[in-house]
Symmetry: C2
Subunit: 406 residues, 2 copies
């Protein structure tokens, strides 16, 4: 008998049949004696349909009103699931973000959860009811409806689990867990039984898009036991852990990668204090997110300043930099949007030297040239030519022994 | 400069184009300097779509959850209209029933409004914003979402107008006002410039389905000036009034009718006290609504007891009565579901004798036999064979001088 929060994403509730399948699973857990809280996303495609409607009214729909509109998506699925549960003889109550008072700030479209009033949920659980909560949405201090941004339902689930001190927060998705890398690239990729929250953060931000980053951060902060599972097949999924028993940790947990990268280089920048700030300041002002940043040691008073941006913002970044470069009297601005990033991730590397060397060697053996390098405590990332992505990921997956069963 | 509440029904907001047309009209009123509150229904067809979804989850969807589901319909239209207004440079704010705290009882699916918190709306109006309110929905004292039942958006509009002491509550529909009778039957039928609330109640309940009865009662209670207009063409519509200047009132305002009637007769009932109560009690227990009731003077200790029910409940009523008749030792139970009701309505008849006689004569001239008669202060209704409906309505429309322009 435990208190379980389950979250189902858009594909898991994408049709009446699938909602019935979710009801079957929730009813089964309930029958085993668990207290159940279920957090739902909108049906897959619904958010896009609503945004399309909004665009017919206003080219840039006011954020407050867009949130009112989008919030109908989960309100629909929570009502339908509650009906399906009642149809199975399982008492259930649905709640919008407003009704369980998921208090957020008032940044419409990407609000942050500040507080949850768990009284209502506790009362229902005590009466044996399943509590069905709308993900993705909340309410600001003035009662305005807010949304947390895409993937925000994960955050709702984690926040509910934290508020209720749930025994486990289970995130049901269309994959059956977190893998050592993308199985579409490396068929031998394995599901990880467990992964630390830090590794998960590195994996997620690097492209293993299983969970919304913010929800993982949230889970880490409140030490919510988080498990990723498949909606469509039974299995243990992957448990995200907080203990860091590095003795037992595998050296490397996975190989992450990102195709959405572009590289920009400001060459021949005068090497004086404040230059980096000036360059990145302009980029930041334009809301362009910067990922890797590399600055080489200066030679004859000049240095090269390189960083990566999202590929969609490549042109914008180049234009800004051309202006900045002129002001700075930099020699030139060049770039490349045919690059990718590959990373090896693992808490185990903290206590083991030589991971980076091993990585570079594996890539060199395949004739892959490394353009940029960036390291953190539990990750080594490299930028390589786009055409080497698959080859590089496979080489590293094999080199770090991930092909074999653990 | 006035405070105007406008309500638009499902067909008026049935598509993005139509919502844009509503925005145009609201913006025009706003530009004339009026304070505007707009109440919306769900897009036409949306409620049926949602009910169909619900039925896939549960043959008899739990009422609480059905209300959560249905409330998404207006939440969608209010957000879209607010966007369309903002797109025209008109500041607007949308509010769900929850957000303006339309407090209702907790009879899900047909809740009654108890109170409205108008502070939020007043604040927005003071800031020059158009306030866009979801019709049809409210919230009970525990924060559960409720709905007022089909047509409840009219009631929301009237309630908002009453709470805000609006100068006028305008109900936009797909007809351009209240007519002397159905123009599909009598092409000469005229739009009435004004009609009293009592006449409107009689007209509405008798089949001139322009406004929800409850909203008219509500308007009468709070003396809210109510006007029915067309969404699709400009015009003055019909104003529903409360003053009863009978000197000026036309004798008869309109000819109403209902096709949905059926007649049941319990013959040879012992004429003793309590019989009517016993017969109607069983009918009421089965939730069958009774309309006209006629009991003839008794002859040799027996009487006939006749009443009309909705045609859809005819069989149910007959079955119940067969049991009751046996207990009462009544002679027989017969019925007829091929009948209709035709009524002449007008506050003017209060001060004029002979309306009923004039009505019966007009019908007799056409050879129409009258099966039942029922009168109230401002209405005379008759039940006739179904095949006489059109003939009877036309004869009365002409006999009471409604064909000519007023």
């Amino acid at each position: 008998m435990a208190l379980i929060v389950q979250k189902y994403g858009g594909t898991s509730v994408g049709s009446p049949e699938r909602i019935n399948a979710v009801a079957d699973r929730v009813a089964r857990w309930r029958a085993e004696g668990h207290d159940m809280v279920v957090v739902l996303s909108a049906m897959t495609g619904e958010t896009d349909r609503l945004i399309k409607l909004a665009k017919q009214m206003h080219a840039e729909p006011p954020a407050r009103e867009l949130d009112v509109l989008l919030a109908t998506g989960e309100q629909t699925t929570i009502a339908l699931l509650s009906m399906a549960l009642e149809n199975r003889g399982v008492p259930a109550r649905s709640y919008t973000g407003h009704q369980v008072h998921i208090l957020t700030d008032n940044v419409h479209g990407k609000a942050r959860i500040l507080d949850i009033d768990d009284a209502r949920a506790r009362e229902d659980l005590a009466k044996g009811r399943v509590v069905v909560v709308a993900g993705f949405q909340g309410v600001d201090e003035f009662g305005n409806i807010t949304t947390l941004g895409r993937g925000g339902s994960d955050t709702t689930a984690v926040a509910m689990a934290a508020a209720l001190k749930a025994d486990e927060c289970q995130i049901y998705t269309d994959v059956d867990g977190v893998y050592t890398t993308d199985p579409r690239i490396v068929p031998q990729a394995r599901r990880l039984d467990r992964i630390t929250v830090e590794e998960m953060l590195e994996m997620a931000s690097l492209g293993a898009k299983v969970l919304q980053i913010r929800s993982v951060e949230f889970a880490g902060k409140y030490k919510v036991p988080l498990r990723v599972l498949s909606s469509f097949e039974d299995g243990p999924g992957t448990l995200i852990t907080y203990e860091e028993n590095e003795m037992e940790a595998p050296l490397i947990s996975g190989i992450a990668f990102s195709r959405d990268e572009a590289k920009v280089v400001v060459r021949g920048v005068p090497d004086r204090p404040g230059i980096a700030a000036q360059i990145l300041g302009e980029i930041g002002n334009a809301n362009v997110n910067v990922d890797m940043i590399v600055q080489n040691v200066a030679a004859d008073g000049n240095t090269d300043f390189t960083f990566t941006v999202h590929r969609g913002e490549y042109k914008k970044a180049l234009e800004i930099l051309k202006v900045v470069a002129k002001e700075l009297k930099a020699r030139e601005v060049i770039g490349d949007d045919k690059i990718v990033k590959i990373s090896v991730v693992g808490v185990g590397m903290r206590s083991h030297a030589g991971i980076a060397a091993q990585m570079f060697r594996a890539l060199a053996n395949e004739g892959i040239n490394i353009q940029m390098i960036s390291t953190s405590e539990i990750k080594v990332s490299v930028v390589v030519e786009e055409k080497y992505l698959e080859l590089g990921v496979r080489a590293l997956h094999s080199a770090f022994g991930l092909d074999k069963a653990a």
